[in-house]
Each structure stands twice: as C-alpha cells, then as structure tokens.
C-alpha cells in the first residue's frame, strides 16, 4: 500500500459539546476509505473540517505530507480536496450545467464559454448516469435523486486528489448506486483517494478497501473490508447488534382509517384509490420520480388535487374530508416530508417548539396563554420516550443530527395525537441503529391501532415494515401486494411496468434512473 495521502492526528472539535475527540486517521492513495457511524457520530463534521467548511479546535492535518489548514472550501479545493455534501449544495436558481461546472467554469477573462460549459457538463452528467437529462433545466425542478447525482457530478468536475462523498447514494435506487460505484472504482488511481460515508453497510463493504468506525466522536477502529462483515460494523458502531425483531403481525381491527378516492394529481395518469386500516402499515413503492411524494402530498392536502377526495373515518361511521394541511391535522393526520431540512423542522428554533408546534392547544390554559411548565414536562417525557439525543430541549434543532431531527418530527405528531401518519422517506440518511429505533417507534405506533402510509426508496425497508405495499409506476398504480404474497422481483416488475408498456423500444435508462 502506498504512503498516506491524508494524515490526521489528535484532531478535536467542539460545538456545544465535544463532537470529535482526538481523531487519528489516515487515508492512503489509491484507496476508497469508508467512514461509518451512527447519526451524530461526527462523520460530516470530520469531513467538513478536511474540506475547509469548518475549522478544527486542535490537532494537525497533513495532506501529501504538508500541513493542511484551509480557511475556506475554496482553499481546500486548491489543494485538491473536493467535497460532495450530505445536505446538498446546489444553487436552485442556476441550471444543471452551471451547477455541475460551478467550480470550474470554462472562461476567458471571466467570460464564460457557453458551448464548452455545456460540453463538459454533458460528459460529467453522463458519467454519473444523468445522461439524457436536459442540462439547461433549473436544478430546482429536479427530484432529490437527480439532485444527488448533480451534486456528485459537481464534486468530480475539478481535478482532485481527495474526494469526499457524504452519503452520496442515500436517495438513489440500487441501479443508480451501482453506476456510481463503478464510476468511483474507475476514479481511484494511484495518486487519488476517496472518503466514502454511508449508512448502507453492504455498499461500504462491497466498495471500500478500508473502513473506519466513528462512535460518539471517537475513531474506534479501522479495518480492511476483506476482514470484516456487516454485523461486526454494527457492533462497533453501537456496541449492540441493532437487530430488531420483525413485528409484522397485522393484529389491528380491520376498521378503515383513511380512504383515498379517485385521487388525480398532475403526475398521475389514472385515478388512484387507496385504503389504510387501523393497525396497518401501507408502503408506497416505485422508482424515483414515479409520483409517490406527489401522491402523499396530495393526500395530505399540500399538493394540488385535480380531482378526488380523502376520507378520514371516525369512530361512529362518520368521516371528515380534509381539503388542506391544516384540516388534515385537525383530522389527526400527520405528515413528515422528504426534505427534512427545509420543510420538516424549523431551523433556528429549539427542539421544544419544534415538537409542540402542532399541539399547542393542549398546553393552553385560561386565558389562552401557554402553560410553559406543562409543555416542558410533556416534551421531556417524549424526548426520553423516543430517546432523542439532545443536550436539552431548548437546543436549536439544526444542531441535532439528522436522525434525531427525524425523531423529533415523529414526536411532533405523537404529541399532536395523530392516528394516521404519512411518511416520505422517513429514514433517509439514518444509521442502522437510528433506523431500527425509528422503525420500533413506527411499529409501536401501529400497534396502538393507528395507520401509516410510508414512501421509501429502499425496498428492504418497506418489506420489513409494511403489511401491504402499493406500487406506483410512472404515475399510475401498477400493483398491490400483501405480506407473504410479495417478492422483490414482483414489486420491481410492477414498478417498471408502466415504462415498459408505454414504449418498449425507447425504454431508456433515463426513465428508470431519473
């Protein structure tokens, strides 16, 4: 093995409390180095320091044997460090091509050469499997998966020595992930290295040469991947196996909780009908861009409904028909969006007000003022019940790790007394332990007789959680499977169906991958 490209010694970083403690870490040229750990373990913080976005409190970083103390990301770029971040850094008001080439605009005297820009962007887009996308679209119109690929293309647009990828595949399907992995293998040459952060341990084991485990800000262990397996990693990350026993027994009464009738959204071709029963978890599967998020939002009343209605069934044969989000909340329906950062949490506000925002009426005493003590007690109880890791409930929510933010969002709806929960990609970017914990909460929620509708791009997750899976394909309902009557192949086949039927000859990769 060649010499160390990156050498970190005794690096520490503190926010409110220590996040990284005496990290010693080496990355060698020619390798892909995996970095795993639970949510909040400090992976993003560590890599952000290397990439110049944050600065360390103490410690030393050597890049190529020379001290590396970048003040800005631009400085780090100059030294050949390139970063693709977890919370994406795309500029909504610029086009796909401009975003890809943002760091390396082809220009003369500061004037951009448009033709060259398009050409280079096209090449990079093809590399990451965005081959036939319209490069002049604004990135704001892309789906999450497409955005992630653009982010990746942007990271490899400039010449680099060290490429840092922070969960590059969290929103991708398996096929897309495979393309990316092949690309990365090709990119690692003798003089380059890649740091690869992911919660998908199988991916890490398959792709990486070495893997380091972070736990609570301490680098516990570094091993060659050929020596270890996933359960070892899980044990290292969490000191526990993280296995949860599957509780897929649908034992609720078969009463209807929510029915969707003839729902038509801008993306759907045929009206969609759907029913959720009490004590049931329904999954919504499909390829990226198949319209799952849109359907979910339409049910909740956020997105435009072209026609159709939603019925929320009450105890006594009566029902409500919420037309917008606030009526849905009144009907005890909750929704957790896929874009946690901009749509889920209130950045800048504390954990407490993030949790209680939808249930403030509970804490209202005469005359309409909030009982802050009662609120505090309720939140404290919820935090310990969901084991949300935070220093206190008035900690600002943006300083929590993604997993804990997600738990707080679940907590918001538990607090509001919801009995139907709609979740969009609820565990995106969460580690195994946190995922298991969240799954546990969802099961517990179901077991109290509530209904759930879950969108996820990870089929395994749906197959683990759901009692029933509905498959969307290009905006139409292409299949419905119950537990024990499904298989991965059947579901995937249904997911591809609409694309195949439409035009077998021009069935192209883009339709699947974008």
């Amino acid at each position: 093995m060649s010499s160390a490209l990156l050498e970190i010694s005794d690096l520490s970083k503190k926010f409110a409390e220590p996040v990284l403690r005496d990290i010693n870490f080496e990355v060698h040229s020619g390798t892909i180095h995996g970095l795993v750990g639970q949510n909040g373990a400090g992976k993003s913080t560590l890599t952000n320091i290397i990439a110049g976005f944050l600065s360390a409190d103490s410690g030393r970083i050597l890049l190529d044997g020379r001290p590396h103390t970048p003040k800005t990301v631009a400085d780090a770029n100059l030294r050949g460090v390139s970063l693709a971040v977890q919370e994406m850094s795309l500029i909504d008001n610029l086009s796909v091509a401009e975003n890809i080439m943002l760091r390396t605009f082809p220009a003369e005297f500061g004037i951009i050469k448009e033709r060259q820009l398009l050409g280079s962007a096209r090449q990079l887009a093809e590399k990451v499997g965005l081959g036939s996308i319209d490069l002049q679209r604004q990135v704001s119109s892309l789906t999450l998966a497409q955005r992630q690929l653009v982010e990746l293309a942007k990271a490899i647009s400039c010449p680099f020595r060290l490429l840092i990828l922070d969960e590059p595949t969290a929103a991708l399907t398996e096929a897309q992930t495979k393309i990316i992995h092949d690309l990365l293998r090709g990119l690692v040459q003798s003089s380059r290295a890649i740091i690869y952060i992911s919660h998908r341990l199988d991916d890490v084991l398959e792709l990486c040469d070495k893997v380091s485990v972070l736990r609570d800000g301490i680098l516990i262990n570094t091993r060659k991947t050929c020596d270890i397996d996933a359960s070892w990693l899980i044990k290292e990350m969490s000191e526990s196996t993280g296995e949860i026993e599957e509780k897929h027994c649908f034992k609720g009464q078969k009463s209807k909780r929510l029915s969707v009738l003839d729902m038509v959204t801008p993306r759907t071709k045929n009206p969609i009908d759907l029913t959720i029963h009490g004590g049931e978890i329904v999954g919504l599967a499909g390829l990226a861009g198949s319209g799952r998020s849109e359907l979910l939002k339409a049910i909740y009343g956020l997105e435009e409904r072209l026609s159709g209605s939603v019925k929320v069934h009450l105890e006594n044969e009566q029902w409500l028909s919420p037309m917008n989000a606030s009526e849905s909340v009144s009907a005890c329906v909750g929704f957790i969006p896929e874009d946690r950062k901009t749509q889920g949490v209130f950045l800048g506000q504390d954990v407490c007000s993030n949790i209680t925002i939808s249930s403030l009426r509970r804490f209202c005493t005469w005359p309409k003022s909030l009982d802050l003590i009662k609120e505090r007690e309720a939140v404290t109880a919820l935090i310990s019940k969901l084991s949300i890791v935070c220093s206190s409930f008035y900690q600002s929510i943006e300083t929590l790790s993604g997993g804990n933010q997600q738990k707080a969002l679940v907590g918001r709806w538990l607090m509001a007394g919801c009995n139907i929960l709609l979740l969009d990609e609820p565990t995106r970017g969460m580690d195994v332990g946190a995922k298991a914990a969240l799954h546990g909460e969802l099961f517990a929620f179901r077991d109290r007789g509530n209904g759930l509708l879950i969108v996820s791009s990870e089929l395994e997750e749906l197959m683990l959680l759901c009692d029933r899976i509905v498959v969307l394909s290009d905006g139409e309902c292409s299949g419905e499977f119950t537990r024990h009557a499904w298989s991965k192949e059947l579901i995937l086949d249904a997911a591809f169906r609409a694309y195949k039927v439409k035009n077998t000859e021009t069935f192209n990769a883009e339709k699947i991958f974008d």
Binding site: S326, T342, Q343, F346, I357, K368
Partner: protein, 319 residues
C-alpha cells in the same frame, strides 16, 4: 423552557441595556443637564408613538414581513382624527376610534394583498406608503389641523403617577405584545411562519389568517401611533411620520429582531426605541450641527448591530 428562555432573554436584554446605559452616561458627561428629571420626562413624552409602531413592526418582522407604510399610516390616522374633530364636530372618542380604525383597515388591506397573492411585503407596503400619505393629504386638505389642548391631555403626565395616558397605553402594548409572542399560540405560530412558511403549513398552521392578522395589528398600532402623535403635538400634520418606518426597523433590529423572520423580542425592541430616543435627545442637547448629528446617528446604528453581532457570535447570517 421557562427558566432557560428567561435567562437567555435576560442576557440579551442585559447587553443591549448596557449599550443604552453607555449612551446615557456619555451624554451625561458631555452635557450639563442630560441626567435630569426633565430629560426623562421629555423622552417619555416622545416615546409612545415610536413605541407602538415599533411593537407592530417587530411582529411583522418576526412573521417574515416588513411594513414600510407605518409612517404614512400614523399621519393618516392623526389627520382623520384631527379633521373629524375640527371640521366635522365628531365627538373625540368616536374620532379617535375612526382614526385608529383607518390604521386597521390599511393594515388589513396590506396583509390581505400580501397573503392572498403572496406578494413581497416590501413592495406592497412601499405602495401603501404612497397611498396612505396621499390619503392623509386628502383627509386634511393638506393643511395642518390644530385640534387643541383637549386631546393633549392624553400626553400630559397624570399628577401623582408622573406618566401620561399615552405612555401607559404604549407600555401596555409592549407588555401585551411580549405576552402574546412568548405565551400564546398566536405568538408561536407567527414565529413558526417566519422561520419557514412551508414547514409551518405542513405543521397544520394556516398561513393567511396569521399573516393578515399581524399586518392588521401593525396597522392598528400605527393608527394608535397617529393618536399619540396628535396628542403630543396637539395638531395633525399630514407630513408627519416621514421616515418613521426606518426608525422603527432600526429599533427592532437593534433590539435583536431578525430581518429574515422567525426571531425577535419585544422588550429588546423597546430598549431599541429608548436608545433612539436618548440619542436624539442627547444630540439635541449637545446642540451639534445637523451634519454631525446625521453622521453620529448613522454610526450609532451601525455600531449597535456590530455590538449585537459580537455578542451573538459570527454564525448567524441575516441579509
């Protein structure tokens, strides 16, 4: 929540309160009579209008808007009250209600336009600034309307208590707005909307009524400001209140309110108002030339946000 937020806030107030004391001390040293009861009472009589307008502005800023029309609405309300009393012999109580209500209507229209059509508040209220100014010229026939000493009783210190009815009402507005912001659902919701409209909608909050409500409140408070202004001077000048919106925004921001929405403090804003009043009074007592006054005022405003930044640390970025 209770304990901590109190401590946090107290610390915020302590810092800005220190700036205020510093300013007072400075003027105490440089002038002969600044530290006197008379100065206090002079400042107290100037405060009510700016105070209520700033309270409204702070709420508007917290919900993520801005209201440039308040100065004109102050003039409109004062002119309507004045003209009603003088030219149309309307009883004072009724005239006052009419004036304040004109502010309510302006605020509601503004809020409705902004919320219903998701227009930028800056531009809508800029338009309203012109409209309300034009209406105040119309209602007063572009004349200064002398109302006389009856209405001035509002602004005169009550014997025994030492402060005026205007001031008591302004303080009540501060206290109730502080209560509303920190202890009611309305307050939590406007903070939530100001932080992220999408997240607020997903949480089941209806955006429109709250946005309209806050602008209506701001308009009403500006109408009240018109009353206080009229009570202070005793006559209604359709040209009054030009530039008041900028003083109110400056006071709110000096007091820790974010122009990006979602963060703000009524008590802080009130201390901001005090800083501005002390500054004006002190500079007038110093009798500096107009250019020097302007330059010092500008520098103090910049210095105040700079001090705030150093206290808060460099992480938070506003526009």
């Amino acid at each position: 929540m209770l304990r901590r937020s109190l401590t946090n806030q107290r610390i915020e107030y302590v810092y800005i309160f220190l700036s205020l004391l510093l300013l007072v001390a400075l003027f105490g040293f440089t002038t002969d009579h600044f530290l006197s009861l008379q100065t206090l009472s002079a400042i107290m009589s100037q405060l009510p209008a700016l105070t209520v307008v700033t309270v409204g502005m702070t709420l508007v800023l917290i919900v993520g808007g801005i209201d440039l029309s308040v100065g004109s609405v102050v003039a409109l309300s004062a002119c309507i009250i004045g003209t009603a009393i003088v030219s149309h012999d309307v009883p004072m109580i009724l005239a006052v209600l009419l004036g304040v209500f004109s502010g309510t209507i302006m605020g509601f229209s503004t809020g409705y336009l902004i919320a219903r059509f998701s227009l930028p508040a800056f531009i809508v209220t800029l338009g309203m600034l012109e409209v309300a100014r034009g209406m105040s010229y119309l209602s007063s026939d572009s004349q200064t309307v002398y109302v006389g000493s009856d209405i001035q009783k509002l602004a005169l210190p009550i014997t025994g208590i030492g402060i005026s009815i205007s001031m008591i009402m302004a303080l009540l507005a501060v206290i109730s707005a502080h209560f509303v912001l920190t202890r009611t659902i309305f307050g939590r919701y406007i903070i939530a909307i100001g932080t992220s409209e999408t997240a607020a909608r997903i949480s089941g909050i209806k955006i429109r009524p709250y946005t309209i409500g806050v602008f209506t409140l701001s308009g009403t408070l500006a109408g009240l400001g018109g009353l206080f202004n009229l009570a202070y001077i005793g006559s209604a000048d359709p040209n009054t209140g030009i530039g008041l919106e900028l003083s109110a925004i400056a006071a709110a921001v000096i007091g820790g309110t974010s122009l990006m929405g979602g963060r703000g403090s009524i008590i802080g804003a009130f201390i901001g108002v005090l800083i501005i009043a002390v500054l004006q009074n002190g500079l007038a007592q110093l009798g500096l030339s107009e250019p020097s006054k302007l330059i010092i005022t500008g520098l103090v405003i910049i210095f105040a946000v700079l001090a705030d930044r150093f206290r808060r640390g460099p992480n938070r970025t506003d526009t």
